[in-house]
């Protein structure tokens, strides 16, 4: 297997693991952790798309490195994705805090109206 193939498989596995824990966990903190794992998988997938063989980081230096540079556009997108992921996580954690205050639990099975 080549490097991108290994990374694609890892990215898909991370996305699936994250979504699985999002669906099956009852503890809300664990659900947020699952969301973050899926987020990580998506970021890994995006960076892998920009990979080229023997590519170096897209930074111009005085001593030019031999070989091609990797695509800078997905890396810039991932920067945005990481920041948005942070915002989502902070807001989700605050919502869980509010839920704990109002319902006394972060277990979805114990909160009326959230069970499925």
């Amino acid at each position: 297997m080549t490097v991108p193939q290994i990374l694609y498989v890892s990215a898909f596995l991370l996305i699936l693991i994250g979504l699985y824990s999002l669906l099956t966990q009852r503890n809300m903190i664990r659900m947020i952790i699952g969301l973050n794992i899926a987020d990580l998988g998506v970021n890994l997938f995006l960076v892998t798309i920009g990979f080229v063989d023997n590519g170096s980081a897209p930074i111009f230096r005085a001593q030019a490195a031999a070989g091609p540079m990797v695509d800078p556009v997905p890396q810039a997108l991932v920067l945005t994705s990481i920041v948005i992921g942070f915002g989502v996580t902070a807001l989700a954690l605050t919502l869980v805090m509010r839920l704990f205050v109002t319902h006394g639990s972060i277990d979805t099975a114990r909160i009326r109206g959230l069970k499925w």
């Binding site: 996305i15 111009f60 695509d71 920067l79 920041v83 915002g87 902070a90 807001l91």
Partner: protein, 240 residues
């Protein structure tokens, strides 16, 4: 039952990913970029003057998106503030019953200037090396976070931080409008000289924008952290 439904749903999604990803997976490993990437790599040094092409994409090519990104972060900080304001119920109380003790408090205060220095270095070299406004701002906020973790008596100048955050947001917009009324006549156009390629004072307005972004990100993160921890310390005071 819950697990079974989860496995079935994930299995279906995995099948979808496999069918979509088969093309990516079976393709020969690439040795050259597609048109957008190679075009940006070819034009970026002349257009932006930044040695780090990722920074050039974030600030120069997609500057408007970065403004939107900062706005999303601001909306998130606003939501955290509004939601945490209503928490007064002894929720994180145990966390704040102990302060860190003398060694940790003195150590965190001694670490503070160095962490801030590393953050400023990363911000100022964003157009030359990996880094920039977002990671640098997070590192600066981390310095304050370490102090908050060890001492419960620390009072954060909320007003000053809010003023900094507002000024940074307005500064970003102001640079955009300056570009609009410059000869280039486009929002967020570069009007500063590009300088010598690869030196610290180069790349036009990219370091300026990244400094503004760093101030905004750092103040927003300090705001979020202090709001979340204040929910615990305020309840502690109420309980006493």
């Amino acid at each position: 039952m819950r697990k079974l439904i989860g496995i079935l749903l994930i299995g279906g999604f995995a099948f979808y990913l496999i069918t979509v990803g088969m093309g990516l997976f079976s393709a020969e490993s690439r040795s050259e970029l597609d048109s957008v990437g190679s075009e940006i790599l070819a034009t970026s040094p002349d257009l932006s003057g930044a040695a780090n092409t990722v920074t050039a994409v974030v600030v120069q090519y997609r500057g408007f998106d970065t403004l939107g990104e900062v706005t999303v972060l601001f909306a998130s900080a606003l939501g955290v503030s509004m939601l945490a304001m209503a928490i007064r119920d002894g929720l994180l109380q145990d966390l704040f019953d102990d302060d860190g003790g003398f060694v940790l408090q003195a150590g965190s205060l001694a670490l503070l200037p160095f962490i801030v220095l590393v953050g400023i270095y990363i911000v100022l070299h964003g157009h030359l090396s990996p880094g920039g406004g977002f990671p640098g701002g997070v590192i600066i906020a981390t310095a304050v976070f370490v102090v908050i973790l060890t001492s419960k008596t620390l009072s954060i100048p909320r007003g000053l931080i809010n003023v900094l955050e507002t000024l940074a947001g307005l500064g970003f917009l102001a640079i955009g409008f300056v570009g609009l009324y410059s000869p280039a006549q486009s929002f967020l156009a570069n009007i500063l000289p590009k300088g010598e390629f690869g030196s610290l004072l180069s790349a036009g307005f990219i370091p300026v924008i990244y400094a503004i972004v760093a101030i905004k990100v750092a103040s927003e993160l300090i705001n979020i952290i202090s709001k979340l921890t204040a929910a615990g310390s305020a309840s502690r005071e109420a309980a006493e």
